[in-house]
Amino acid sequence: MLEIKNLHANINGKEILKGLSLSVNAGEVHAIMGPNGAGKSTLSSVLTGNPAFTVTEGDVTFNGKNLLELAPEDRSREGIFLSFQYPVEIPGVSMVNFMRTAVNEHRKYKNLEPMSASDFLRMQREKKELVEMDNKLANRSVNEGFSGGEKKRNEIFQMAMLDPKLSILDETDSGLDIDALRIVANGVNKLKRPDNASIVITHYQRLLDYIVPDFVHVLYDGRIVKSGGKELALELEERGYDWIKQEVDGK
């Protein structure tokens, strides 16, 4: 599904991704862990086409298409979803209006008619239940005045609405208490299907108790330096990242 080869990217002239390769198949859950500043969020920004970053080398294909040539909105319409580490507030734009525009843009891309208001509201109700989201939130402006936990739930709600092929969850667990964590993880698990995949970026192994990964990768200094099964996450939890740093920097 997703094939990243030797990806190099910089921001303001500073190289952050330094030859990153990763391949993700349908049905798989990949966890990416790594110390602060390793480039995890940069990877999610680059995959989704954030114009602040420049790709200098490498290829990314998504379902056979050259991802790097697509505009950010088309990457979304192709089925890539990012749950932002820091969701943005958009005052004045109601969640309902925002989501309806997004859903209908996705449908237009697939040559489908816009959704009727009643179908849309029904779908919205269903998906809200999935993440146990408060009714009130859907009537407020996008993320405005939401608590940290509400913002993260709102990300998963949007993910459910857009039904992506590949979801990238960037530290969706940070700032969540244990109940919220369970709700979010539950939502993600319910959306899992054999034909979609996710990349779960996290700091902590505890999320992986709920969302069980098929693969765990360590991102350090702009590259994937170690990959393994879910036991790697436990090892990292126990031993920290220093031994990895030593392994890499020692070479």
Binding site: N50, F84, I90, E105
Partner: protein, 478 residues
Amino acid sequence: MSADILQEVTQNDYKYGFTTDIETDIIPIGLSEDVVRLISKKKNEPQWMLDFRLKAYRHWLTMKMPEWAHLNIPEIDYQSIAYYAAPRKNAPKSLDEVDPELIKTFEKLGIPLEERMALSGIAVDAVMDSVSVKTTFKESLGKLGIIFCSFSEAVENHPDLVQKYMSSVVPYTDNFFATLNCAVFSDGSFVYIPKGVRCPMELSTYFRINAINTGQFERTLIIADDDSYVSYLEGCTAPMRDENQLHAAIVEIVAMKNAEVKYSTVQNWYPGDKNGNGGVYNFVTKRGICKGENSKLSWTQVETGSAITWKYPSCILLGDNSSAEFYSVAVTNHHQQADTGTKMLHIGKNTSSHILSKGISAGVSQNSYRGLVKINPAAENARNFSQCDSLLLGDKCGAHTFPYMEVNNDTAIVEHEATTSKINEDQIFYCNQRGISTEDAVGLIVNGYAKDVINKLPMEFAVEAQKLLQITLEGSVG
């Protein structure tokens, strides 16, 4: 609703920029006492009207263009403008007599000139260049005693009302552009709502400049007698032309005891091209008076067009317990300049006013809010609340706020709040990531920002206004 609208809107250009090929009766360019007399003669005016014009013209000669606005106004050569242009067929009595080209023009603009298009429930007076083309629904409104006609017809048929109220709110000496209008105004709309009548439909005037090198100087007079109600809409467009066109209008509103008047404008004169060539100079004086007790006046404006806008719809709160509102969205892009706002003059007791101004600037445009709230010594318990917000798209545009307050009574409560915000790249990218294009994202954000004002517009206008906001700002981000 807005999502559908946003989808519909894909075009980048000023879609009203066509010209109409009709025979026009246009007088030679230039301004003099003879020209003033000629205009009056062409309109078969009574002596008192000519006298009024001449008085204004002579006063105008002593005046200078105002310079206090935050505007860069190029020198205007008042001798290079034609002051009167009319579609050749004059004063049509029925639709059959209206030039078919003209009907096509208004159809293109979406203006229902035909009464069978009455489904939209709006009575329309359409002013092309200097002359009112046709007023619809005149008869059905007439049964209620409502007068809705062109200004010229009012001069002819209701001289007593015109003489009593014309220039009673905006004196002929008021300001440079208003005085010029008094001298050379060509036509406009006239409304009288009798005592106790609620006007059952929206009244609307549609202004269109067509002829080349002409100025448009219309005036509108609305009188709402005791216990009456009327909602009035005004729309305007102009063809794309490389030279600047001058528009200097006057609107006067009189609200008597317990009367309520709502005046809404969607101003979409041609703004000029991306490089600042051409466009309409929009120098307009709009003022209403809440003359009677408990009267109410509300101005709502969506200003997206014009190269330069200079406009302050104002209200004199004379009657006790009267109230006034000013809701404004002013958008400037490219090289547009707007200096707009309001004046609220509190004279009566327990008067209240509410100001909500939303400025949006993009490109290298300049957008200023200028407002005066004045509480006279006798205005016991006056209240004012003003909220002035600015939204910036990009960092080459300017937003300015000039709130003036003169409070001369200790019992008054006057509050002012202002905010400035910017659409940032993170917000746009967040929308992009959900599959929403940058243009649509700007549309969503801007319409969200402006919705408190847009919602005050009658339904048909609200839809149009939302589209306009987005079209005006296309290409301004990203």
